[in-house]
Symmetry: C2
Subunit: 135 residues, 2 copies
């Protein structure tokens, strides 16, 4: 898949999943990516264009279900947990381990939205983990 | 380029540039796309991740400079003009006449941001116009 490391050399500064999850600036960029994916998924389902922000409850719940909560410090509120999820998802896309289409297809699946985001987080976690370890 | 018409059959309902520019729902989805492109351009320039919304002043000014204002009704405020720009840009991406990378490269150019968005709007307008006329 298409890595954007040449355009975004800051991707090389992260050496662990915890680094990625805890980066607030990355979360801020991730917010824009996740809102686009979510809006596209809603548009696909509705058969008309929709633009909407994904609620932090859904993201924080997905992060917990994916088993990523333990990689983060204690005493983080829901918004910080949602930030962590957004940071990991956009890192996965920018580093090329997942395409926009694949992310969209996962979020668009039938069933519970936070379960879908959980699956996306687990997939990105696995692939980013392998890439960080140099496989 | 990769058209998303199969996933988003509503793309087929637009028969003119004015149809696209005037669609508020499409503008809402376009807002998510444009904010991602803008945030990526800022991240590329800053060498660190940035997430930010593009100001409606920049978008409405770009729309006027591109010569698209005359295709819209009178008495539209700045926010409605910005909406029109966002609608056209996301239509261009979804219909496959411009890729995310090409849009990002245009917005990332040196120089005035609203001039860059103006160039992007003119390019999408030209290509969408050709596609709508069946060339």
């Amino acid at each position: 898949m298409n890595s954007r490391r040449n355009s975004f050399p800051f991707l090389n500064k992260y050496s662990s999943i915890s680094d990625i999850l805890g980066d607030h600036e990355l979360a801020s960029l991730g917010d824009a990516f996740v809102n686009l994916i979510y809006s596209l998924a809603l548009s696909k389902a509705a058969g008309r264009p929709v633009g909407r922000k994904l609620d932090s409850r859904v993201l924080s719940s997905a992060l917990r279900k994916a088993g990523l909560r333990s990689l983060l410090p204690h005493r983080m509120d829901r918004h910080k947990l949602a930030d962590a999820a957004e940071a990991l998802i956009v890192y996965g896309w920018l580093s090329g381990v997942i395409s926009l289409e694949e992310a969209l297809n996962m979020v668009s699946r039938e069933g519970d939205l936070s379960d879908n985001i959980c699956s996306l987080l687990k997939l990105v976690w696995e692939r980013v983990g392998l890439a960080l370890r140099g496989y």
